[in-house]
């Protein structure tokens, strides 16, 4: 399998504060990759470095085979149309309707006809499970779950190969969260995309994530499938996975891990 994203010895400093000190990981094609860690461990920062919102102080990040350190403006723009990003709180443009939010990139970067654009918007809405009439609403008129779905539809607008999700299930009710998980798996299978997600949601971690990286102590302390991660003795992994609640809730899956 080809690595879609490779992160090599990344160091991030804000002033005198070190966030990452030698982070290494790779994300394979067509997998759902989770980034875990306690708050302040730099999960969001790491994701921002993957999507060129931040530059690491040292080290290398390459996405879809292109190194981001010395990327040209043209390549960067091309790369940006190859991925979709779902922000934690949606970040829909508040001055545009949902449909306009979804079509904004299509309008800007493609020359397709208005009718075709409308069709695409409708299909994206259907894909994420929203009624066509939602397209005419403004983000302020949507519920939390609808915002996430609309933002996902926007992230999918340019038919990305890569999807970045920042806590996709946070703020959703448990049923909505599971539906969202199912939707992500469905999209992955259907569109063949690679998904990178920051998550704390144990259900998502145990059910849909293929591989994951656990960030703690400024580096990746455990990487791989859930079975591999469970082998780790790191205090955060112990506290996060091996507490009473998790043990009871996911006993079946946990035991499987112990026999590997």
């Amino acid at each position: 399998m080809n690595p879609v994203i490779e992160i090599h010895d990344v160091v991030t400093r804000f002033g005198t504060r070190t966030i990452h000190n030698g982070v290494n990981l790779h994300i394979n094609e067509n997998e759902i990759y989770g980034i875990l860690g306690e708050s302040g461990s730099g999960k969001s920062v790491l994701m921002k470095e993957m999507i060129m919102l931040l530059e690491p102080s040292a080290g290398e990040v390459s996405v879809l085979g292109k190194s981001l350190t010395s990327i040209s403006f043209k390549d960067a723009q091309a790369l940006r149309s190859d991925w979709g990003v779902l922000f934690q709180f949606g970040a829909l443009f508040s001055s545009l309707t949902v449909a306009e939010n979804i079509e904004v990139q299509l309008k800007e970067y493609t020359d397709i006809s208005t009718m075709m654009r409308a069709n695409l918007v409708r299909s994206k809405l259907a894909l994420v499970g929203l009624d066509p009439h939602v397209g005419a609403l403004y983000p302020s008129e949507l519920s939390g779950g609808m915002i996430k779905r609309a933002a996902l539809a926007r992230a999918l607008a340019m038919e990305p190969k890569l999807l970045f999700l920042d806590e996709p299930t946070s703020g959703l009710d448990p049923i909505g969260a599971r539906n969202f998980d199912a939707l992500i798996v469905e999209l992955r299978d259907l569109l063949g995309i690679t998904v990178v997600m920051i998550t704390h949601d144990l259900d998502s971690i145990f059910s849909i994530v293929d591989r994951m990286a656990v960030l703690a102590d400024k580096r990746v302390v455990a990487e791989g499938s859930i079975e591999n991660v469970l082998q780790s003795q790191h205090p955060f992994v112990e506290a996060f996975f091996k507490n009473e609640y998790t043990k009871e809730r996911f006993s079946q899956k946990m035991n499987k891990g112990h026999h590997v």
């Binding site: 921002k48 999507i51 060129m52 919102l53 960067a76 723009q77 940006r80 149309s81 991925w83 990003v85 922000f87 934690q88 709180f89 970040a91 829909l92 443009f93 508040s94 904004v104 990139q105 800007e108 970067y109 970045f164």
Partner: protein, 367 residues
């Protein structure tokens, strides 16, 4: 000493200190008073068996005074329950060094503020660099100009401001004429009121009043709009889509204001002179015809042009500062207020400073 909570008895080689009653949040004040009176010259044997009830406040008080006594003499603690011990361990484990707010001296404060201003100016210059680059690129590729947004902002910042600008200019024109007429009437030079009003309005007051109103009205709006977009991560979202915020947010606002402000100044000039005309009629009895006749004689086109030239310059300052402050907003709502204030204050100051600069330049050039 309040013997309800604490009592002591002096022995030959030590001091028997017995704690009693409730050691809780409600009683710690009394207990502390009592503790302060305990003499510290001999070994202390501290007995807790009499304590009926306690909470974390009581334990913390014990911890505090145990440490103080310990510094002076030997302390032995007796008669504590298991629960008390557990609570003590828990509290002691989580005990952190008390947070002492760092005192900043006047000199250090001065240094910090100076550095902050220096960084701020550096950031603004970086912003201007980006803005000029974006402007230059857009002139090379005019199809990237976002005409729809520009028109929208011309309407918002220009057309919608007509009433307030008109009202302000009218009143300023009237005030000038009133004040001037009192002085000029003394010399019997009534008709010179036309020169006073026309030249001061077109050269100085029209552009300045308009710029100040627009700085308060649109500069603040730009900061708040962009700041709110930053908080909701809309700007980050734009960047990930490859939309440069300079093209989509900054340039339309800058261009719109650079187009709208000169037009508003033109409008303010007319209404301001009209205000002067009305006041001259009321105060000095100069008829409209007399006024306009004199106006044609004294108001050279250059005065009007010199006023208008300042328009795009002021507009650029206001829009650039408004957008710059918007991008500075950090992730909390209070920061929108702070930066909006800073935006208006900075742009009004710079407008006045540049106006003074223009004044000097034009005078030196004999214009």
């Amino acid at each position: 000493m309040n013997i309800e909570f604490l009592s002591y008895a002096k022995q030959q080689h030590h001091l028997d200190l017995s704690a009693k009653g409730e050691w809780t949040l409600n009683t710690v004040l009394e207990i502390e008073k009592a503790l302060r009176q305990v003499p510290c010259d001999k070994k202390i044997i501290w007995d807790f068996s009499g304590v009926s009830d306690f909470d974390s406040a009581g334990i913390l008080l014990f911890v505090e005074y145990y440490k103080r006594f310990k510094e002076e003499v030997d302390v032995e603690v007796l008669g504590y329950t298991k629960k008390q011990k557990e609570m003590y361990t828990l509290l002691n484990k989580n005990r952190q060094e008390s947070i002492i707010p760092a005192k900043i001296g006047m000199l250090e404060n001065l240094g910090r503020n100076t550095l902050e201003i220096y960084e701020d100016i550096k950031d603004f210059i970086t912003f201007l660099g980006h803005l000029f680059t974006a402007m230059f690129q857009v002139f090379l590729k005019p199809k990237n100009i976002r005409f729809k947004e520009i028109v929208y902002h011309i309407k918002q910042s220009g057309f919608n401001a007509l009433i307030i600008i008109g009202l302000t200019a009218f009143l300023v024109g009237m005030v000038i004429a009133y004040q001037g007429s009192v002085q000029l009437a003394k010399f019997g030079a009534d008709i010179f009121i036309v020169d006073t009003v026309a030249i001061s309005i077109t050269r100085e007051l029209g552009p300045m009043i308009t710029a100040i109103v627009i700085a308060g009205r649109s500069g603040s709006a730009y900061t708040a709009e962009i700041g709110a977009m930053k908080i909701t991560e809309e700007i980050a979202a734009m960047r990930t889509m490859g939309f440069d915020p300079y093209y989509f947010l900054v340039l339309p606002r800058v261009f719109a204001l650079m187009i709208a402000l000169p037009l508003l100044i033109f409008f303010a000039d007319i209404i301001g002179i009209l205000g002067g005309m009305v006041a001259a009629k009321m105060q000095l009895g100069i008829s409209m015809t007399q006024f306009t006749d004199r106006l044609y004689e004294v108001l050279e086109v250059k005065h009007y042009i010199l006023g208008m030239i300042k328009g795009p310059m002021f507009a650029f300052l206001i829009a650039a500062i408004g957008c710059y402050r918007g991008f500075q907003v950090s992730n909390n709502t209070e920061s929108i207020g702070l930066h909006t204030t800073a935006s208006v204050v900075n742009s009004i100051f710079l407008v006045i400073a540049f106006d003074a600069l223009f004044s000097v330049i034009f005078t030196e050039l004999d214009l």
